[in-house]
Every structure is written in C-alpha cells, then in structure tokens.
C-alpha cells in the first residue's frame, strides 16, 4: 500500500517535475489518505459525537423550559403553560431514553444511519416544543415577556449549533422547529417592528445553518482523517511486524550462510588437495594451504597474479583456449591433467577439476580449481608398465633357451639319450612350458584387467574356428589319449569376434576337457543356436566339478585339486581369462553337469547376421 502511494508520488513528481506538480501530488496524497477511511466508520463517529452532545441539549431544554414555565405562567395561561411543560418533560424523558438505548446498543457502526434518524426526530421534537411555545404564548405575553421569549429562542437556536454541529440537517430541522412558528407569529402580529424582526429571522436561520453546515464538513473531514491515519498506523504496525520477522529470518539465514561459509572455508583450508579460487579473468583470488605446500609459493605470491604462473609455459596457449571455453560454457571440467611448475622449477603433473561459480544472472563470478598431484601416481603407472614389459621380455628370453634346448634333446635331433635322462628332460621341458603358460596368463589377465587389451574383431564362421581349435589341440589330446569330435556344424553360424582370442578360449576349454577326461575318452564339441546367440559347448566325461569349487571356478588361481594341477599342469588362470575374454566379446560363459557324468563348459556369443 505504501508502495502504491510512493509509486503514485514518484509518478506525479516525474510527470510534472515542478513545484506545482509537487503541490498537486501532496493534495493527491491527502485525498488518497482520506479515501482510505471507511465511510461507515466516519458516519458512526459523527453519530456518536451527536449523542455525546445530547445531555447538553436535554439539560439545556429542561433548565430553559423550567425557567420559561416559571416566568410565563400567568393566571389565564397557567394550564396551557403547564401542559407545555409536560410536553417538554416528556420529550426530554424520551430523548434520555433514546440516549440510554444508544449507549446500550451493541452495533453502533452498522446501525448508525438508524440512530441518526432517531436523533433527527428527537431534535425536531425538541425544536418543535419551543416552536409550540412561540406559536401559542407569544401573542398573549406582555412586552417584557415577549423580549424574554425572543431571547430564549435565539439562545436555544444558538446552542443548537455546537450541539448538532456533527449533522447540519438535524440542526436545520431543530432550528426550523423553534423559529418557524415564531417567524409566522412575528410576521402576522400587525406591528411594523415585529415584521422587520420576522424578516431577519430567516436570515439569522440561514446563517446558523450555514455555520452548522461548515462545522459538519469540518467534523466529517476530521473523522475521515482520524480513521485514515488509524488505518495507516495499523498498516505501518503490520509492516513493521513483518519487517521485524523478516529481519529475524534474514539474520538466521545470514548465520547459516556464515556457518556453511566457515565450514566450506575450513574444508578448502584443510583439504589435502590444492584449492585455488580464480577470478573470471584467470587472476588468482585465493589459495589454500595445500596449494602453498604443493607449489612452494606463499599465498600472497600467487594472489593477484595470473594462474599461468602455475602452468608450464608451452601450455599457456592451450590454457587460454580452455579458459575461454570454460567461461563461455560455464560448465565444470573434471580431470584436466596439466604440467605445473613448482617454485623451484620442478614440474609436477596435477589433475584438476575446474568449476565455474555462476550467479543468478548466469555470469561467472569465480572459478574454483581443485588440483591433485598425480606425479607419483603416473610414475608408479609407468613403472608398472615397464615392469610388465620387462617381465615379459626378461623371463621369456631365458625360457626360450631352456625350453628350446630341452625340445631339441627330447625330439631326438641331438641323437639318442639314455632313457632315464630322457624322462628327466621331458619333465624339465613340460615344467618350462608350464612356467611359460603361467607368465603368458599373468600378462593376459593383467592386460585385460587394466583395460589395455584391444580386440581385433572380424566376422568368422564358428564351425571353422572349432575345426581350427581341434587341429591346434590335437597334440594335447594325444598326450592325454583323448580324441576330439564335433557335431552340429553349420557354415551359416557367424560371429563378430577376435579370432585369436576366441581360439585362446577354445584351447583352454579343450585342454581342460582333455586333462580331466579318462584315457581313451572322447571330448565332444557341439555348436547350436541359442536365441540371438550361438552356443558352443565342450563336453567331457571327467569326474565333474566338486560342489565347493563351483562358485569360484572362474576366479583367478582357482583350481579344484592341487594334486591334479601338479600332475596335469595348468595355471589356474585359464578359465578366469576365458570368462573375461568372452565378456569382452559381449558373450557369456558357464558350465553344467552332463547327463551321464562329466561336465559341459559352454559359451554364447551374439550371432552376426549372415
């Protein structure tokens, strides 16, 4: 409401922009304030004012009436005067009853017009009772008594002005009641002086009514202002209360913000990672303790300077580009690896997460960079890679000599050797081969788990691959006196896989089956459709998978029976590698008991549309 007022004030001021304009606006404001008063309230106040004056009217009428009765009663007029007195007393009593009823009334506001009408009737009655005195007694009175009565009328009419000032029509009725009959009597008396006085009466009446009218206006305006300001005060109080409440809430919010600010500052300050706050132009605004330690600069050496101080010079151009992009897109950039020179010149590699802080207008107000020193981590990764590479080379080279030498002896190329010696060199060759398998498997699984194994998928016919794997593992089968047989071949079944890696899986499954099959047995390989996939299964007639081993059969270094391992070789990594390879080729692998004894290992791969 106050806002509307101010807006109006502002509006008129700017519209006119002059002193007159201001005056107009002040008047407009006053009018507006007055208009805020409830007219019903204003009327009720005026009615209350009138009723408050009633005791004066009643008292004055009673006393003046008593004096007049005492003064006017002559011998022949005695009854008439007493009747008149009785009328005055009755009217006074009725007026008193009205006053009493008004004060007892519960709703003075709603029924104010009604109370006003009753008061008008009472006033008219009061006036008329004096008029009656004038009309009836005046002609019969002595000259002195006529002067007395005229004086009394004038007095009573004058007293009515302040008494009925809150409503000029009531005064007009009241005064007309007194002066109307008196005017008529004077005009018709037959005396020139009285006619002249009679002519003055309406003038006198009009003047009084005019004064009463003016007074009524003043009262009306006064009450309106009173109510308007009362309402303003109430609004003001409500506004104040609301403001106070908001202040309390604001204070609470401020405390919370301050607390979280302190918490955040504490996090940033104590965090083990470097936290740097930057201005949108790339100037350092704040750095935490970890950043000071990491880069060897004191905070005040960095604050106010460019962030580029901490970026390798050859990366400055790239930094500018990235920074522009960051400020434009306003999106956080995680995992940025940059070389950062320390104060002593040593270059660190840090991984940064850079987050722009944006205000409600979507403007970047600051950028928070959180950096972690990953130099040691990268070095460790490099060393691990180097170690793997070294392991691969340095172990394979001597194994080449060992296995190669033994193979040359065992193959008979070097001539016949003693039977017992040959047995030993065969054992040595087999175990050399086992060691080599283990190294290859460890390297494979390391490569798969570090995500460094890249597949070279091609579309191949499943039955061709099965045949190839059977040829490749024929020697292995012969060693364990086991034959491989396939069924269900169909050249239509094609898959999109890494051929060499799938052969590796087949070799693992076939060699496992051969190892655990009874001598002279047959390992069967079946190929069939399984929904959208092709299912290849290798069935043996071995002893089955022990219950306790089933859940971890595809885990690393899982072997059911270490005695069997020693006897038959195997690294315990084969099935773990198979599982990972098949999954890398979007397939799945599993096993089940074979009806009639033995186990079926199977894998399924998505069929490639022929």
């Amino acid at each position: 409401m106050a806002q509307t007022l101010l807006r109006r004030m502002n509006h008129t001021t700017t519209a006119n922009g002059s002193d007159t304009g201001l005056q107009v606006s002040t008047r407009a404001v006053e009018a507006e304030i007055r208009d805020r008063a409830d007219p019903r309230q204003v009327l009720a106040d005026r009615v209350a004012q009138l009723y408050r004056q009633m005791p004066i009217a009643i008292g004055a009428t009673f006393i003046a009436g008593a004096i007049a009765t005492f003064e006017l009663q002559g011998r022949w007029l005695k009854e008439l005067v007493l009747i008149w007195w009785a009328i005055v007393v009755t009217f006074s009593a009725a007026a008193s009853l009205l006053l009493y009823a008004y004060y007892r009334a519960a709703d003075k506001v709603g029924s104010a017009p009604q109370w006003l009408r009753w008061l008008g009737i009472a006033a008219l009655g009061n006036g008329a009772s004096w008029g009656l005195a004038g009309g009836v007694f005046f002609r019969s009175l002595s000259d002195e008594q006529q002067v007395f009565l005229a004086f009394l009328f004038a007095g009573m009419a004058s007293v009515g002005v302040p008494v009925y000032a809150a409503s000029w029509p009531i005064f007009a009725l009241y005064a007309a009641g007194i002066l109307g009959p008196f005017f008529y009597v004077l005009l018709t008396f037959g005396n020139r002086l009285f006619v002249e006085i009679a002519l003055l009466v309406p003038l006198f009446y009009a003047l009084n009514v005019a004064i009463a009218y003016r007074l009524t206006q003043v009262f009306h305006s006064g009450y309106r202002l009173r109510h308007a300001y009362g309402k303003l005060t109430q609004d003001h109080r409500l506004l104040n209360q609301r403001l106070e409440r908001q202040l309390v809430e604001l204070e609470e919010a401020r405390r919370q913000v301050e607390a979280s600010g302190r918490k955040l500052a504490l996090f940033a300050e104590r965090a083990p990672i470097a936290v740097i706050e930057l201005q949108p132009d790339g100037t350092v605004a704040e750095v935490n303790h970890a950043a000071e330690i990491l880069f060897g600069y004191a905070a005040d050496e960095l604050v106010g300077g460019s962030m580029k101080k901490l970026v390798a010079p050859e990366l400055h151009e790239e930094f500018d580009r990235t920074w522009r992009q960051l400020v434009t897109t306003r999106e956080s950039v995680p995992g940025v690896k940059i070389r950062n020179p320390r104060r002593d010149g040593v270059e660190l590699v840090c991984e940064w997460t850079v987050t722009p802080l944006v205000n409600f207008q979507k403007e970047v107000i600051a950028v928070i960079a959180q950096g972690r020193d990953i130099t040691a981590q990268l070095e460790a990764e490099r060393m691990k890679k180097e170690f793997t590479s070294t392991l691969s080379h340095e172990l394979r080279t001597p194994l080449t000599s060992i296995i190669g030498s033994l193979q040359l002896i065992n193959s008979g190329v070097m001539g016949d050797v003693d039977k017992e010696v040959a047995e030993l060199t065969t054992v040595a060759e087999r175990n050399g081969q086992r060691l080599l398998d283990l190294i290859n498997d460890i390297l494979d699984i390391e490569k798969i788990e570090s995500g460094k194994l890249t597949l070279a998928p091609e579309v191949i016919a499943v039955d061709e691959l099965v045949r190839e794997s059977m040829v490749l593992n024929k020697g292995f089968g012969e060693r364990f006196k086991v034959r491989f047989a396939s069924h269900g071949d169909s050249p239509e079944r094609k898959v999109h896989v890494d051929r060499k890696r799938l052969l590796q899986v087949m070799t693992n499954l076939l060699s496992n089956a051969a190892k655990f099959s009874p001598e002279g047995g047959v390992v069967e390989i079946s190929t069939e459709d399984a929904g959208p996939s092709v299912r290849v299964a290798v069935h043996d007639r071995g002893g089955g998978i022990p219950e306790a081993f089933r859940t971890r059969i595809f885990s690393r270094f899982a072997q059911a029976d270490s005695t069997a391992t020693r006897q038959k070789g195997g690294t315990g990594l084969g099935l773990a590698i198979c599982k990972r390879l098949i999954e890398l080729m979007h397939g799945r692998i599993g096993f089940e008991d074979r009806p009639g004894g033995g186990t079926s290992f199977w894998f399924e791969l998505p069929r490639h549309p022929a």
Binding site: S405, L408, S411
Partner: protein, 129 residues
C-alpha cells in the same frame, strides 16, 4: 613364391644361448646354412658377404635394435630386398602390427619351438611374392 627352396639364413641376436638353439634347430632340423651375428652393427657387413636368402632379426638388442637395423637395411641397395623375419619376446598386438608396417615378411614370437622353427620359416618363405 621364390623359385628356390629356403637355404641360407642370417640371424642377428645378442643372446648367445638363443643363438646356439636357433643354429642347432635350423642346421639339424631344417638342414639350412646359418650365419649368426652377435653384434648388430656388424650385421650388414655379414649380410653383404654371406648373401642370405632370409634374415632373422631379434627385436631387443643393445646399441642397435631390430627395427633400427631393419631401417638401415632398407637404405642399402644390397640389403633392401632381403626378406626379414623378426623374432621377439614382445608379443603385444601393437608391436606385431608395428613390425608388419615396417615391411617385415613375418614374425616369430619367443619362446619358439626349435622343432617347428624351420617349418615356420619355410611357411613365411613360401608366402613371399
């Protein structure tokens, strides 16, 4: 496919034990003539003199590794046309691809089987244009 059988092999390898096994394998099993070079910097001189049908290079050697030696061979008219087979303990697909891209005739990974080595080489020889 070359019109003559594979016979003369020049093998550059710094590890003496592997040298011996390869020599035995190729001579005894494969019945081939072998010249072994321990010092890769002397390899080109030996090749020029020995005039092999095929050259086997070890990948990792001190001073001059297999690929570097191969590049040198390519620069010389008397060795540039010789088919080269790399023998390596590094077996990653990327390494093998790299060797192929250098123009190698084939690769054999360590450890190899001395029993099968001559046949492997003959298969590569047969696949040559």
């Amino acid at each position: 496919m070359p019109d003559r059988p594979l016979n003369r092999i020049c093998y550059v390898e710094d590890d003496e034990d592997v040298q011996r096994i390869v020599r035995l394998s190729l001579e005894r099993v494969g019945k081939m003539t072998v010249a072994v070079v321990s010092d890769p910097t002397q390899a080109i001189a030996t090749m020029t003199e020995f005039r092999p049908d095929l050259v086997m290079l070890d990948w990792m050697m001190p001073v001059l590794d297999g690929p570097a030696l191969f590049r040198q061979m390519k620069l010389r008219p008397d060795t540039s046309a010789l088919p080269v087979v790399f023998i390596t303990a590094r077996a990653s697909q990327r390494d093998l691809d790299e060797l192929k891209s250098l123009g190698a005739a084939g690769t054999i990974s360590k450890p190899f089987s001395p029993k099968d080595l001559p046949d492997q080489l003959r298969a590569i020889w047969a696949a040559l244009p």
